[in-house]
Amino acid sequence: MNALLRWRTQLGLTLGAIVLSVGAYVLVTLGLTGETPHGVAGFVALIAIAYLAADVAIVNLVPGADPILFPTAALLAGLGYALIYRLNAGLAAEQLGWLILGLALFVLTLVLVRDHRSLDGYTYTIGLIGLGFLLLPIVPKIGETINGARLWVRLGPISFQPSEAGKVLLVVFMASYLASHRELLAVATRRIGPIRIPEPKYLGPLLIAWGVSLAVLFIEKDLGSSLLFFAIFVAMLWAGTGRASYLVLGIVLFAIAALLGYLAFPHVQDRVAIWFHALDPSYIKDRGYQLAQGQFALATGGIGGTGLGQGHPGLIPFVATDFIFAAIGEELGLLGTVAVLLLYVVIVARGLRLALTQQDPFTKLLAIGLSSTIALQTFIIVGGVTRLIPLTGITLPFVSYGGSSLVANFVLLGLLVRASGTRTGEASHP
């Protein structure tokens, strides 16, 4: 695809994202009050300037960048804003601030990371900073417990979830470590009973990173992130070594961890019980209330939904963070939820395609890791809301209310866009 065509595609899709974001916002106000919003011109101007500025930044800073990644994420963020506005105008004002900050950091990522391969030189530094971010909420005084999970850090007036930043850094660490050690990890030299394992020396740093992040997350009681980290870890190990045995090993280890977690922690037992019994009479008004209301919201929406602003998604507790997918289901129906899932499919497919076209192992693994993160996070929360798997409270990427998550995901997207603009492996083709 030549540069002009790529630029036209990106501009067109970004304009589409702006129109749909503004459309959702207007429809929400129409549905709620029956009138068009007063401040719509200001909102249009703000969104259009912010998105187009990011567009111009991509074209100028990353020649050859993927033209589809940014507009798709921008549309998800715009839809998310409209839904949050519909649920709680106060939260929406904050979210708009976070969105602008997220876009600013997206551009800053492109400015600072001129070549993503330079990150490959800081394997252990990045890994340690990532672990540091995960550990931060445990530190007394600055760590905060909100809703039973100790995953917040308060510094002065700002509180944030450092695990979101830790997530991106650990993916970079794993990509970098696996890029230089994948061959050694792919060869099994030691034998334990019937299982052959690679040299412990090479497996060590990975197991430490994995063990510490899991331990920390169990201490912080953040089951969603714990599951996410585990899944990313296994996916990257599998992709890096090309050995399905890591996948099997990962599933076995996960089963053991899940069983131990279930036996040891009452809050894990609680999650599983709610998953099975959310609609039982003894649960529905009490422990299963949130999940039951989420189910009712999806059922009320049916195929086409009640229309934006015309349902009652506000009945679901924590709807703007954990249950925003149910709010989409209620007001835009099955059609709306499938469209949103397709937008994630577009982002993930672009990321995986990027991994396939690049030659450099670090770039491949980085693209796989970052796009798997989006895919797995979406699966975990949508699976939880639809009762496919037990509910663990994590955010729907780009859509849910939550500053740390939105900003971290835009930085993640920045790395993906940067990687898409660098064609590696060309030097060997004269």
Partner: protein
């Protein structure tokens, strides 16, 4: 606003949402098939006095058969993971200074320099300097060095 109008607007909104998805997927597809292909220039093969082509370069490929690059043969050449080698490798199965290639009386030879995993010519381990001819495959770690005219 009338409920019918809101339903219509919702339908338009959903249609536009799907249009966006369709457009994104279509642009992704239109990008396929336009990838620049590497053009391999035809190589002329000069011959020595006895009619056999003379080894002039090495084509490097990794264990998946992907091309790493090509190196001209001249003087004495060392192969290994060390950056001081004339042919530096990123192969983790290669030793720091793994093997050397040198010319003697118009022929080229490869010699293992005490590497951990050995040096192979056409998959036979080299214990003493071995002559290499055009078309031979020298394996160092997981990297293949094919002798080219």
């Amino acid at each position: 606003m009338a409920p019918a109008a809101l339903i219509l607007l919702k339908a338009v909104f959903l249609a536009l949402l799907y249009l966006f998805v369709f457009w994104a997927l279509r642009s992704a597809r239109s990008e396929l098939g336009t990838e620049p292909r590497a053009v391999v220039a035809p190589v002329s093969t000069p011959s020595s006095s006895d009619g056999r082509p003379v080894p002039r370069s090495l084509a490097l490929t990794d264990e998946h058969g992907a091309t790493i690059g090509a190196v001209p043969l001249s003087g004495a050449v060392q192969v290994g993971r060390s950056p001081s080698c004339q042919i530096p490798l990123t192969d983790t199965f290669a030793s720091s200074i793994h093997a050397r290639l040198f010319a003697r009386d118009g022929s080229w030879f490869v010699e293992d320099l005490g590497s951990t995993n050995g040096t192979y010519v056409n998959e036979r381990r080299v214990t003493a300097p071995a002559e290499i001819k055009v078309g031979d495959r020298v394996r160092v770690g997981r990297t293949l060095l094919e002798v080219r005219p």
